[in-house]
Symmetry: C2
Subunit: 352 residues, 2 copies
Amino acid sequence: MPYAVIMAGGAGTRLWPAARRDNPKQLQRLIYEEPIVAVTVRRLQPTFPLDHCYIVTAARYADPIRSVLPELPPENVISEPFGRNTAAAIALAAFRIAAREPEEVFAVFPADHVVLHPDKLQHAVNFSLPLARAHTVVDIGVPPTHPETGYGYIELGKPIEDRDGLTAYSVRRFVEKPDLATAQGYLQTGHYMWNSGMFVWQAATFLNALREHLPETFRALTDAEAIGTEDALQSAYAAIPDISVDYAIMERVSDVVAVPAEFGWRDVGDWNALYELMPHDEAGNAYEGTHVTLDASGSLLLAPNKLIAAIGVEDLVVVDTPDVLLVMRRDRAQDVKKILDKLKERGDDAVL
Amino acid sequence: MPYAVIMAGGAGTRLWPAARRDNPKQLQRLIYEEPIVAVTVRRLQPTFPLDHCYIVTAARYADPIRSVLPELPPENVISEPFGRNTAAAIALAAFRIAAREPEEVFAVFPADHVVLHPDKLQHAVNFSLPLARAHTVVDIGVPPTHPETGYGYIELGKPIEDRDGLTAYSVRRFVEKPDLATAQGYLQTGHYMWNSGMFVWQAATFLNALREHLPETFRALTDAEAIGTEDALQSAYAAIPDISVDYAIMERVSDVVAVPAEFGWRDVGDWNALYELMPHDEAGNAYEGTHVTLDASGSLLLAPNKLIAAIGVEDLVVVDTPDVLLVMRRDRAQDVKKILDKLKERGDDAVL
């Protein structure tokens, strides 16, 4: 049976003040009934049995994640002493998997993305798993719907397999986040897919690639895993580079395959993205909590524990929490980070 | 020594959700450090000794008012069984005053107005008190600063006394709330003053006018005061007309005098009025509570118990309370009443 590696290290600061340093995005419910990390794990069933699911996260999120996923073996939540980007996080999980079944494949998933059509994702994953045994790595790509400048792209080469309504392509190259004109060009060609951060490797293949392209990380983590203590891992992390798996490995190996698939993939990166995913009333407002409105439109109004009354407001985001109230124009959703920077500067740590 | 009658019957619903049915505007601090009804009483000292100050209010506000003014004799807070407009409220106080000193004068003040220059108000009151013995009633008028359509106006006649920098005029007529064009005309002539709702009568003169112009009220309240029970007062109130003192009496008596005076009088009728009275930062924002902003301007941000973060918002009002959060465009401040109507309609009584 294949393994899943769920990347749950980020805090999701643009969803502040719901997401906090100690209550990160992956523990938020977002559009779901339960925390999104739990949704992510459950939708991988039954392809990836629970004891084959690993979650890699920051030390301070490990216990909260275990408590929202009590059916997951606690040792499957892997604590990183601190963040060292995706190459280290995936490597850590790959060592654990290889120690059990080095010939087995593992699929990597972000913990905090919405998938509107989980059945279609499952179909794409099932299509990709056997391919990962025959090729170096399979990247699940998402056909772009708009010229997004916040994602990396994959340029498709020629088709190499066609089955069950899906086609695998060779990958010509990975490209970093493009500018708008470039992204518009990509969108028109139809040959560029969004890099969703979901990909499948055979464990041994990944570790070989790691040894070749990121030898310090390979060595440091091999040693730390052999010793097996938290201290050893902490020392190893202090010594390894902060680099993404895309940049360090994916872009440097040959025989990379992409499987474009449409499954309603949404990166709920900020409040505007969440607004767009939520159901709206006829005036385009999305709510959590009781509400009363007069000429309010296009607004996200989240006040789960009180009545929210809105008059005459347009395209606004309001997020009420017990100690922080955020009010902003919806098109400024990216700027939540700047507010956090301001709070850090003035030492307002308690609300971060 | 003269008496003061403070009118504290209204709820101030346009300041919802801070003001509530059970926590009315006169108990709000507004721009002050203490509830505005207490500020109103204290600024009348020493001209009106505390045991000469009467507060007329709704039964459910009587005890809360007593508790914010512990130094006031409790019996000086007069409970109305329910609201019957200003004629009944003032009559009730006038009967109590006449029972003590019928020849003495009393001055009527609203409980919930801001006075930026209390010394100037005191000067105008001191100027008016002796005039009230020589004339039927003295109305303290406020020179209009803009063509307000929400107030009544007094048209001045000829000057009748000039002393200490103030002039008393005969009153030609009272006019009800005008339309904008009429109000603009009034502003240009310089002969029209705002009717501030502050006026001075001799107790006996008022009761004589009441007997003549509003005989049912005179009779019903005389009887109720003679019996002296709450039940008697309740029966009396059920029988008397709901009418303002301006319409029922002021506009019908002769020898009315007006004293125009500028003392920074502000009717804090709604959130926009409060916004204009509060201190602003350089971007025109007014705050209560800690805050962090990015490109926010012209906004009133009241969240006394939490951090408020505002990004890109303009001319907004945000009022956070434990059970209700109001968010509205500042120029829609009048429409808070419509929200309350909606809540009443759907039976959401708990938050009114």
